[in-house]
Symmetry: C2
Subunit: 331 residues, 2 copies
Amino acid sequence: MNSYREKLMDEMSRFRGVLNSYLSSLRDNLGGPEDLIKASFHLVLSGGKRVRPFILTKSAEIFGVSEDVSLPAAASIELLHNFTLIHDDIMDRDEFRRGVKTTHVLFGEPLAIVAGDYLFSIVFKLLVDNYSEDVASRLVKVFAEASMLICSGQTMDVLPSKYINDSDDYMEMVYQKTGALIEASALAGGVIANVDSEYLDSLRVFGRKIGVAFQIADDILGVIGDPRVTGKPVGNDIRNGKRTLIVLLAESRMDAADKRLFHSVFGRMDAADEDISMVVDLFNKYKVFDDARNLMNRLYREALDALRTLPSCRAREYLEYLGKYIIEREK
Amino acid sequence: MNSYREKLMDEMSRFRGVLNSYLSSLRDNLGGPEDLIKASFHLVLSGGKRVRPFILTKSAEIFGVSEDVSLPAAASIELLHNFTLIHDDIMDRDEFRRGVKTTHVLFGEPLAIVAGDYLFSIVFKLLVDNYSEDVASRLVKVFAEASMLICSGQTMDVLPSKYINDSDDYMEMVYQKTGALIEASALAGGVIANVDSEYLDSLRVFGRKIGVAFQIADDILGVIGDPRVTGKPVGNDIRNGKRTLIVLLAESRMDAADKRLFHSVFGRMDAADEDISMVVDLFNKYKVFDDARNLMNRLYREALDALRTLPSCRAREYLEYLGKYIIEREK
């Protein structure tokens, strides 16, 4: 393991401990019906990397804001993320997430819908209860606008045949569905620190680019990730028929014969490992992975450039590590 | 028609026109995918009495806040209300509301879930975009806390056998599910007007009591409303097996024989009109309607008492009319 990665993992793991205690005690102090509390916090307290709160806290720390000050907003953005996951899982009929059963499978769909709504309400309650009125109001704006974008991205994702025709559409969807909230995480750190608009812009650019790069890394791993590391079958996204960046790039380039070959495998859950290898070879022939990696690396460099306009310090270093980890990770 | 009622209806109708234009132009200026916009605003722009925004605007007007200043918050609380209706209709599998098909029936469940989430995001965006940071932050708190209560009330409603055992539980559920948002409407008007905490408390009491009285009136009409006026079959709630205040009061009082008789009809969609009459007679025997009406009238008087601690003016008069209308209405 690289040494930067070890340092990052140690710090993220320490931070997770702090955040998880905060979230547990938040749950314990809510007065609602116990079924609502259980359903709302089932996913929240079932693990998760806590990337968004980590980015928020480190972004604030760059400007001298201590962790206990940024913690409520960090918890808030994690709840916002979990609210979208609970509702997404209902829409996609997913049965597992983070290795546990999804909220609607365990608690039924009606309660899962309310659980998401409840978390979303707490998102804003946490902000106004923990920050001065000016900071709270600006954070509410950042979070509300991010959720609007997530809803837009989710709509595109729910109706791909209408909204996702090429890799540009796809990148827009990824920005809205995933990038916007990571952008909001970085930006919120700066808002808490009350920094000027140039710094806010840099945080925004860092968050947005690293957020989109994160999804591209996922898309690459979804096709050629090592099953022993990812824990998912090789070519998982191909078998599942997921129209990711990789597939959209390939489709725009393949000749008719190769396209036929590809579609004889794509979306077939029973595809053999050799079929998957054949698809990977096809994609390599059209340099799809190269181009996806180039795009991801470009986003990473632009994210880093933005980050490096901020004061140099330990917290900034962790965000640099995180960016590097996101594009180098194997799962 | 009584003259107070005519005045109220005229003013509410005028206000609805203003609010509906605001909501239409809000919709037209959103940049999201058209399916999301259509699904989100389908119910919003399909009618509705606009009681909550009316209360908000009149509460602010009592303290000299003009309608154009309170309008964004009034729109916001109506969107919050509609967000909860869209999600409730999914949970309850209701197919019609306000005379039109529900959002999930028209647009599918996934889009209906996102549509609600989108409206809920806009709720907060409207507040921070239209008010000073201090007022916005206080409004966010009022709205977020109201949504948390609505989620609690909805959970009780989804799991009645666990949470609603007697009329006290039921009244608590009604406060959370319906009263809390009407309370928030009145309170928000005072927050916009920046009034002191005594006035805020009076607004809160007025909203809460009138909100709960509103639901009791509904429960009475659900059993003995005139079908020609309500547009619903006579004894609708009895046929649907709805455990409202009326039923909970009756159940706590009936002897074993009457209880058996009642349960031979309750929840039977094919019950004859004579069966319904028999149930109404039973309820009368135990003075259920009298007691429900007494409770409603007491809430009304307490609401009026609170309202009358506020400056006397035209706007306050409309709220008095509204309170009177709520308990006297026939549909």
